[in-house]
Amino acid sequence: MSHAAFVHSLWTMSADPPKKIPAPHIEYAQLSPTLIVLGAAVLGILVEAFLPRRLRHPVQLLLSAVGLVAGFAAVIALAAGGYGTGKAHIAAMGAVAVDGPALFLQGTILLVSLIAVFTFAERRLDPAAHGKRVDSFAAQGSAVPGGAAEQAAVKAGFTTTEVFPVALFAVAGMLVFPAANDLLTLFIALEVFSLPLYVLCGLARRQRLLSQESAVKYFLLGAFSSAFLLFGVALLYGYAGTVTYAGIADVVNGTVRTVDPALASTTGNDALLLIGGALVLMGLLFKVGAVPFHMWTPDVYQGAPTPVTGFMAAATKVAAFGALLRLLYVVLPGLRWDWRPVMWGVAIVTMLVGAIVAVTQTDVKRLLAYSSIAHAGFILAGVIAVSPDGVSSVLFYLAAYSFVTLGAFAVVTLVRDAGGEATHLSKWAGLGRRSPLVAAVFAVFLLAFAGIPLTSGFTGKFAVFKAAAQGGATPLVIVGVLSSAIAAFFYIRVIVLMFFSEPKADGPTVAVPSALTSTAIAVGVAVTLVLGVAPQYFLDLAGQAGVFVR
């Protein structure tokens, strides 16, 4: 038929009375982790609305803790129910996958968030303002820094207890992100966890200007990247006529050829596929902080309230890598020969840039930011090894890394001077003399980052590189090893600073944390050492969880 006629037919078709849209069938039980957390978040909002201030903090803490624990329990239940392996399938009309990787990552995210929430709730570090203990969040986010309103708020001892529900929303988003099984869900989840994070970044109690600046940067760049991602989604949709992973994959593999020739200009047009894929990839790489989409990381990590930084650094990475894995393994395996070389490049550049730039950093948080970039590179090396080993190694690495990161940032919150946290490295000189314990703990984390044997960092690195090597990516391993050598240099530098240089007279004090932060740090150390010495059980977990459902 003629072209015009075809177009007309479309018009008329849409003019028909709309068919009944069947109510979707949702497996609530299998989505329960997400739902529980969301519920907790909503409750949290209500709490903010109705409870008196003094009660909010404990209640929020309790609420979110319970929520997260319950969520975790749900994950365990699902895993025990075999959803991780045998009964893995796609839930919610193909929107969400319930399979090994999803559950493993969700479990990790929930645990990490639980620990992170503890650090959120820490109220012993800052000196009591007007007799009221305060946490590291702004008295009133909306108030102008240093303005009358803020002073009043401080005097009144306000604290932004909204962070708890906000964080919970973010967690909910993160839970969906790695499980998202169509591009739309992916995008929504992305936004759902990004937006709260933007807010959280802006809520620091001290150095609010930095905090707000980081929020703005994160927000603008985040929005920018998600726009790219969305456009990529659009193009992929245009390519495949569907946004479900399975659907796209089918078209990619050429199993389905839905087109009547007139649509050949779009459907099955590889240009759309490649560009779209690249853009979506970029959106995810932005989240994991891979070069060249990494530039927000240092600024945001430095400016954000340290607990939030820890939370972001750990949880976001897990979620984002989860999504990345799923995209590459479920949607684009057919395209392997196109994206692998590109990802090689990205991985190499990321490892090197992260390691090299970190060498000259002078601020602990920025240092950790760059180190996180380098680690993103290492993980990418594992991602690129397109094999079950690759998946499980990445899962393991994420679990190991996230706890180390949390612990490290938790330690950072302890080292304080008059201006709040003393994050400039020069201030850390001689910390080992002043408080050997804290310094030792931090040293442990640094060594784990550096990948010294008997720490989780080593096991993870080994697993990832091993997968890469077996996947035939030997060059990646070499570069990885080299950049680890460079990275070792600055981790060691910090250790030298802490232990071998004389303490400064005006050096910072090390605050004695409450049980909350202590728990966070303790857990961090414990996980670091356990995964370093006896990783077999967890490797098994990751191994079993290494299969995606299609």
Binding site: L279, M282, P292, D299, W339, V357
Partner: protein, 631 residues
């Protein structure tokens, strides 16, 4: 009987252990303990000697295998002793002279607060030297070889507070190490050639090996000998070694240790016999050294250094003889023994003189001492006569034979060697006379020393004179006793073998020749120093004299070439290590740092530039992906 051999070595070793670890509580009795143990091993030696004499000429070899030392794979080194006529000779010489010198030292070192340690070192030396001559394989010999080196190091540097002494000691050890290098390479060669380095098999199978290999071994052994026996080119240490106490010079640097080289060559005779080229090298070294030493000896004003030069030259004779092969071995050893007597005697005499002259060593400040220290004069005089080869005294017999043997080498070689030997004899007569005259004749040229107290020459105590007397007897009669119907030859022959050389000139001619040159030498010396007064400060002298005073510039050569060169080398290496080798490493680190600093500036804090990088990144990503598809 065999077990006694072990004790022979053990006794002085025990002494060394006691005296060195015993601590101050042994200060009072220490020297006597040392002397006693030396005497004990002499006694044991005597007993064994008697035992050997009791046996038939052919089975005069005792062996005792103690334990397997280093068994690794095919490499078997044992600690085992072999006592035959050759080692027996040495044992008696070492322990005998050794004991005497212990005795002498009791008096000589009386006023030294570290006397105990001195005797400890002496005992250590005895033990090492005995090990050297008793070992039944080259590796164990090597142990003794370096052991005596150590002892000599400790003893030369005994007065460590004198920098000169410390330096001399170090020099001696280092030069010897060069020699030792030769020995160890020789042993390796033996191992690769024969699969073992025990005397028995090696010497038995020497002829089976290729001549080239044997020559190599021979040359390496020669190098070792040069180091230990102060032969050219490794002789430079001996003169400085005189920094040590005189008894040390007498025992180690005259009578025993320095003759170890001769022992080594004689012991390895089987190898040298099969390697004529090596032998040629040996005789050359011997001839050169005997002249070299003699010339140096003429120029020195320091009595001990003069004697040292003489020692060099005399050992030159021995090496020369040993190099001649079966013709000379016996005479080499014979001269070695006689030399052991008279040279030790001379040194002890010199020591006694110094003892009486507040340790003045410059002969130009002696003179006319014969009346003040008669015993010393007489014993020294007898030693003098012996060394210049005065008919009927020890030196005469032994040296004469060597000169004969040299001629017997035959051909031009024979004439050259013989001539050199004769010339050496002449010079010997000259410089020894010079020493004699300067010291004991002429008018008194004493001068108050640095502290301004004038010397009061006096005879030395008994403990010192007795050994001198005994040695004097030795230097007078030993040669004769040995030569009466070739006792010594018959005694050694089973070990070293012997061949009569066919000399182009008759023995008589040689003897007359020696007499003539002897007279000439003496007369010349007398004319120079006996007739006219001797200036207290040495005249500038002609070129040769000045060169000879400086050991014929050998040290200067070493200094310029080795020391300076070495210093430059090390200094530049230290620099290179820091700048180059380490520089590369630090350079890498630095460049990474620089790179980091530069890349860091990209992070300029402007959100928009971040956005640019993202945009660019996206572009690249897309481009790359498309490209991948394109290719």
């Amino acid at each position: 009987m065999e077990n006694l051999i072990g004790l022979l070595v053990a006794a002085p070793l025990l002494g060394a252990g006691l005296l060195l670890c015993g601590g101050p509580r042994l200060d009072r009795a220490g020297h006597w303990i040392g002397t006693l143990l030396a005497a004990v091993s002499f006694a044991l030696g005597a007993v064994l000697f008697a035992d050997l004499l009791g046996r038939g000429r052919e089975d005069r070899t005792l062996t005792s295998h103690l334990f397997s030392w280093v068994p690794v794979g095919g490499f078997r080194a044992d600690v085992g002793f072999q006592l035959d006529q050759l080692s027996m000779t040495f044992v008696l010489l070492i322990t005998g002279v050794g004991t005497l010198i212990h005795l002498y030292s009791v008096g000589y070192m009386e006023h030294d607060e570290r006397r105990r340690r001195f005797f400890g070192y002496l005992n250590l030396f005895l033990a090492a030297m005995l090990l050297l001559v008793l070992a039944d394989n080259y590796l164990l010999l090597y142990v003794g070889w370096e052991g005596v080196g150590l002892a000599s190091y400790l003893l030369i540097g005994f007065w460590q507070h004198k920098p000169s002494a410390a330096t001399a000691a170090k020099k001696a050890f280092l030069v010897n190490r060069v020699g030792d290098m030769g020995l160890s390479i020789a042993i390796m060669l033996m191992f690769t050639t024969f699969g073992t380095f025990a005397f028995g098999p090696v010497l038995a199978h020497a002829t089976d090996a290729g001549e080239g290999r044997l020559t190599a071994i021979g040359l390496m052994l020669l190098l070792a000998a040069c180091g230990k026996s102060a032969q050219v080119p490794l002789q430079s240490w001996l003169g400085d070694a005189m920094e040590g106490p005189t008894p040390v010079s007498a025992l180690i640097h005259a009578a025993t240790m320095v003759t170890a080289g001769v022992y080594l060559i004689t012991r390895s005779g089987a190898i040298f016999n099969a390697a004529p080229d090596a032998q040629t090298a040996v005789v050359t070294v011997g001839a050169v050294t005997l002249l070299f030493g003699a010339i140096v000896g003429c120029a020195k004003d320091d009595i001990k250094k003069a004697l040292a030069g003489s020692t060099m030259s005399q050992i030159g004779y021995m090496i020369l003889a040993a190099g001649l092969g079966p013709v000379g071995y016996v005479f080499a050893i014979m001269h070695l023994v006689t030399h052991g007597f008279f040279k030790a005697g001379l040194f002890l005499g010199a020591g006694s003189v110094m003892h009486g002259m507040n340790d003045e060593v410059d002969m130009r400040r002696y003179g006319g001492l014969r009346t003040y220290m008669p015993v010393t004069f007489v014993t020294f005089g007898l030693g003098y006569l012996a060394i210049i080869g005065f008919p009927g005294l020890s030196g005469f017999f032994s040296k004469d034979k060597i000169i004969e043997a040299a001629f017997a080498k035959g051909g031009t070689e024979g004439w050259i060697l013989g001539g050199a030997a004769l010339l050496g004899a002449a010079i010997t007569a000259y410089y020894m006379t010079r020493v004699m005259v300067l010291t004991f004749f002429g008018e008194k040229r004493w001068q108050p020393d640095a502290e301004g107290n004038a010397p009061h020459p006096h005879e030395s105590p008994r403990t010192m004179t007795i050994p001198m007397v005994v040695l004097a007897f030795g230097s007078v009669f030993a040669g004769g006793l040995f030569s009466i119907n070739d006792t010594f030859l018959k005694w050694l022959e089973p070990v070293t073998g012997h061949a009569e050389g066919n000399s182009p000139v008759s023995a008589l001619t040689v003897t007359i020749g020696t007499m003539v040159v002897l007279v000439l030498g003496v007369a010349l010396a007398w004319a120079q120093y006996g007739r006219r007064p001797v200036p207290v400060t040495a005249p500038r002298g002609n070129l040769l004299t000045r060169a000879a005073r400086r050991d014929l510039l050998q040290d200067d050569f070493n200094h310029v070439v080795l020391v300076r060169g070495g210093e430059h080398l090390t200094r530049s290496l230290v620099y290179a290590d820091h700048t180059l080798v380490d520089g590369v490493v630090n350079g890498t680190a630095a460049s990474v740092g620089g790179l980091s600093g530069r890349m860091r500036r990209l992070q300029n804090g402007y959100a928009r530039s971040y956005a640019v990088s993202m945009f660019g990144g996206a572009a690249v990503l897309i481009a790359a992906t498309l490209l991948m598809r394109a290719v």
